[in-house]
């Protein structure tokens, strides 16, 4: 019972941060500020859901290696995709500050 509650709270937290990331995409004024919302929210959003999975698999007596692998991939790919997006935009625009 306790485990289900903890896992549910983590899933809800993860979902809330993902939602905030999406709201940020809509509300923030330009490309670079918009980029902030999903790169951060996606990490903790998915992070929360992965943590819930970890709690569940720990309760079931397994190691939860799959969840850890998901978290690892996410932490490596989020900065790289943000970097590629911003590099692409810089190429097609005047450099900042000009």
């Amino acid at each position: 019972m306790l485990i289900e509650i903890v896992a549910s709270v983590l899933v809800l937290l993860g979902g809330a941060f993902t939602l905030v990331g999406s709201i940020g995409l809509v509300r923030l004024p330009d490309f670079f500020t918009r980029l902030h919302a999903p790169t951060k929210a996606a990490t903790l959003g998915v992070g929360g859901i992965v943590a819930a999975g970890l709690v569940q698999s720990a309760a079931a007596g397994t190691m939860g290696l799959r969840e850890l692998a998901i978290a690892l991939f996410l932490f490596i790919t989020a900065p790289v995709s943000a970097h590629l997006l911003s590099k692409a935009v810089l190429r097609h625009r005047d450099p900042p500050g000009s």
Partner: protein, 162 residues
């Protein structure tokens, strides 16, 4: 560094990950994982810079925990900015002078900057040794540069001795 195994450590990591993700560990999965673990470094090693030696694993573990904590703080902070009044933001571009020369370590620093509070790595200017960072809401640019240097760059220099 042999021809068959250009990066033994990377191969080992890929194999371990493959088995960890596999639905059930079996001999077939180990064989399949080994093929992938051999093939990926073979294709990607021309893109890899020589990774420097990890000199201070203890400092690395501390930095890892600090970054995890900062990611949580970053999310709360960004959530507050996103849901608050948008016209009060002060987005700026910051040119961060790099002391790190090694491309591998500089990449780690850039990734940490992207994942942590209100900052995003945009571009690395290797010739001028400047990292272009976009900040979501910063009033004091020198203080931000100082924080990044103290919190992340200094430990990275210590960890890899560069």
């Amino acid at each position: 560094m042999s021809r068959v195994l250009p990066q033994p450590l990377v191969s080992l990591m890929i194999l371990a990950l493959w088995i960890a993700i596999a639905p059930s560990p079996s001999l077939g999965q180990v064989v399949l994982g080994s093929v992938v673990a051999l093939a990926i470094p073979w294709f990607t090693h021309p893109f890899w810079p020589d990774p420097p030696r990890l000199l201070r694993p203890g400092v690395a573990a501390l930095l890892f925990l600090r970054v995890i904590w900062d990611i949580v703080v970053a999310n709360v902070e960004v959530a507050r900015l996103v849901l608050g009044p948008a016209d009060r933001l002060h987005p700026v571009f910051i040119e961060l002078p790099l002391e790190i020369d090694d491309p591998f370590v500089a990449t780690i620093l850039a990734s940490i900057i992207t994942l942590t509070p209100g900052t995003l790595s945009v571009d690395i200017d290797r010739a001028r040794r400047v990292l272009l960072v976009h900040a979501l809401d910063v009033a004091d640019v020198p203080a931000t540069i100082d924080t990044i240097k103290r919190r992340y760059e200094a430990p990275l220099k210590e960890i890899f001795g560069c």
